[in-house]
Amino acid sequence: MSESNTILPALIGGILFGAGLVISGMTDPTKVIGFLDLLNGWDPTLAFVLAGATGSHMVARQLLKDKIPEKFETAKESKVEIDRPLVVGAAIFGVGWGLGGYCPGPALTATIPALGTTLIFTISMIAGMAIYRWSKNKTSSANE
């Protein structure tokens, strides 16, 4: 598939993803922290968002999987084994998520409207990604 054919789906996908995050309340970090903080009045919103997103995508996958197997093949994660970076990385992410109230999608969507500490969060998050990407590339080129 030529690259221009991937642009329109990406644009529509980005718009729907951003709209879903805003409408569901996920760009409000107090709702996310309200779900994760068990001792300050529990807010269940996040569970409904995850159920709606994962559930609908799971149904759509079932309907599509025999029609477009080649797309499913390229979307597969290459790794299958449970390794240390998976568990350690997820643990590190969770700590930051609970402290800041943002995961990457909501942080990016909310950055310009919210500014303030949200902007500081997003810059730090991108810096963290860049640091990891840089250190990983350095390690892999040293091993060659």
Binding site: L8, A10, G20, K71, E77, L99, C103
Partner: protein, 139 residues
């Protein structure tokens, strides 16, 4: 009740977005992976990633005047916000996915790696948010 319906509906929009990206592009709608993919050193396939992220950002801007209450900045000390952002950035790339990549897409494809990642980040997220709530107060 109404809030739960709206939250579920918003979630379904995210699920449709992930389905479009899978069906047309054969790609996973994992935001941390899409974001990392446009950082240097340059990878192949940066164009659709940039367009996807711009779509998200523009939608946030367009909805901000209609739903201003959806965009509050988090009330935590600045040093803590910086630490939180760095941890989210490093952690999501180390584990190769975030709430969307592992949570939405990975669990929908019944990936064992993703179920484990989600269980781990929910547990550490609950621990850190609950402890921070005791130290800095609820948000």
């Amino acid at each position: 009740m109404e809030e739960a319906l709206i939250a579920t509906g918003g979630g379904v929009l995210i699920g449709i977005s992930a389905t479009i990206l899978l069906a047309f592009n054969g790609r996973v709608a994992g935001i941390s992976g899409i974001l990392e993919g446009i950082l240097p050193p340059k990878d192949a396939e940066t164009n659709w990633r940039i367009v996807f992220l711009v779509g998200m950002i523009v939608t946030g801007l367009a909805l901000a005047p209609i739903l201003p209450e959806a965009f509050v900045a988090v009330d935590r000390p600045v040093w803590l916000v910086i630490v939180a952002g760095l941890l989210v950035g490093v952690g999501t790339r180390m584990s190769n996915g975030c709430t969307s990549g592992h949570g939405v897409c990975g669990m929908a494809m019944l990936s064992k790696r993703s179920f484990i990642a989600v269980a781990v980040f929910l547990v550490t997220g609950i621990l850190s948010a609950t402890i921070a709530g005791q130290i800095f107060g609820g948000v």
